[in-house]
Amino acid sequence: MSAIHELGLVETANAIADGSITSEAATRTALDRLERLGPDYNAVMALDREGALAAARAVDVARAKGEDIGLIGGVPLAHKDLLYRAGRVCTGGSIIRRDFVPDTTASVLERLDGAGALDLGTLHLAEFAMSPTGFNAHYGHGRSPWNRDYGSGGSSSGSGAAVAARLVSGALGSDTGGSIRHPSAMCGVTGLKPTHGLVPLYGAMPLAPSLDTIGPLTRSAVDAARMLSVIAGPDVRDAATLSAPERDYEQGLTGDLRGVTIAVPQGYYRTTADAEILKLMDESLAVLREAGVRVVETTVPDMGTINALMQVVMTAEAAALHRKWLAERPEDYGAQVRARIIPGYALAATRYVEALMMRAEVARDWLKCAMDGADMVHVPTLAAPVPSIAETTEGSPEDIAIAIGRVTHCTRGISYLGLPSLSVPCGFTKNGLPAAFQLVGRPYGEPVLLRAGDAYQRRTDFHTRLPPGCGED
């Protein structure tokens, strides 16, 4: 059997369930690695070693008694520090909430608890979840396990780095304009941004509730499917989820994609992409063809308008949520975060309402053009190689804005559309950093995305590659 830290989430759950390893051993391994390697990537906010070990021992006792320990029984996980757990500090990556102790627990954490998962602690994120690169003016930049001169991606920066470096086998992140997909792509892990309204947001610090989603960052699509099966579904504390289906997302992961059609939209996603990214995209499509996929070319509507609609919704909602603090404590906001919020104070209220009114029609139009009857769309997650930290923090504000804009080029519009997207690692660019493609589906189309991601990963090994220095136990 592989070393414990090399096991994926499902493999770890299976090994604990069949007694090959104990939950205590898996938890000690994860805690040791989080403490030893976590600081190298600025991945960790806080850990609860004693509490986690006690919970692990309780799982081992339950298993020994023959009790059902759950779908993720005894598996050590850690999550983005914006998910509330009653009695535990939740900073949201901010100074303002550095001592905030919620009195409630996020629905997704309750669901993971119910499936037997262990929660070791909290992971780094961008301030108030507002940076696509993992920049945080207060807690430092999240750093890539592949090269610490590069960001781990944001805003779920610690989640991406912790999974890539094999500190934990899975972590929750949140995605409003790409915050699961950026760190997944930049760290070389698998990330699922679910359909808006599939996974309950209750107990998660909001950025823009009309766009916010919570989803897994894992090594593989099958691991993401297991986590999604646990966290998705209706919750009366989040009305947006009331029509959400409950499913076993591992069903249908057969490796066979015969009968599946993938659309590759020309134009926006490809014309601005770097040549080496396009080469990796084409190579990944060749693998998917081997699995039985039919590939068709399509087009996309005006993405400039869709990106503007997304920005209006995001900035208006974020501005409303932060107005009191920004008025009273402006010095407690980093410059990049402030710049992302303040446009919301000058937008016309009617523009915000119009942006919400148009959402379904724009989504239908995008699906009609980009998907054109196919099962999913294949586009890059990042259209350019991962930028260095220097490229996104140094230079003129205009240069920084351009560099950051390139990171979100392929992700933010999809958030406005509310569609699910699976980011899958597909190789490396010349700078040695990972690259990834996104599979974008219809609302609630996660099953076919996971099926395609899993089939791709059965034929490739990019998701199994270890960053330098992360192999030792």
């Binding site: 359909t195 808006h196 309204g197 009309s210 947006a240 009331l242 029509s243 959400a244 289906p245 400039g304 308008t305 503007a308 609609l309 920005q311 209006v312 900035t315 501005a319 107005r323 920004l326 008025a327 402006p330 710049a339 303040i342 446009p343 104070y345 000058a346 937008l347 016309a348 523009r351 309402v353 119009e354 942006a355 919400l356 009114m357 148009m358 959402r359 379904a360 029609e361 989504a363 239908r364 504000p397 509310g418 219809r442 609302p443 609630y444 189309g445 099953p447």
Partner: protein, 80 residues
């Protein structure tokens, strides 16, 4: 006194813009931020207004996306 120019439009200048944001929202816009912010907001307001002019009718509702999602859930995965 002349009528103030509409907020977040090309007609508005930086000083009145920042003063109006402070009065309405209580948030201080720093002088070095005002020009770029006004340009961005003007562009966003204009882009969304043009799109809305093309497609938003009096029957539109801001809950259009949750409605679409619920309809898809009811029809089932095959029709999604």
């Amino acid at each position: 006194m002349a009528n103030p120019s509409p907020m977040g439009t090309a007609a508005e200048t930086e000083g009145p813009f920042a003063a109006r944001v402070l009065a309405l929202q209580g948030v201080t816009i720093r002088p070095e931020e005002a020009r770029a912010l006004l340009a961005l907001v003007t562009q966003l307001n204009t882009t969304v207004a043009k799109a809305a002019d093309r497609s938003v009718t009096i029957d539109a509702c801001p809950w259009s996306f949750p409605t679409l999602r619920a309809q898809i859930a009811e029809r089932g995965e095959d029709e999604a």
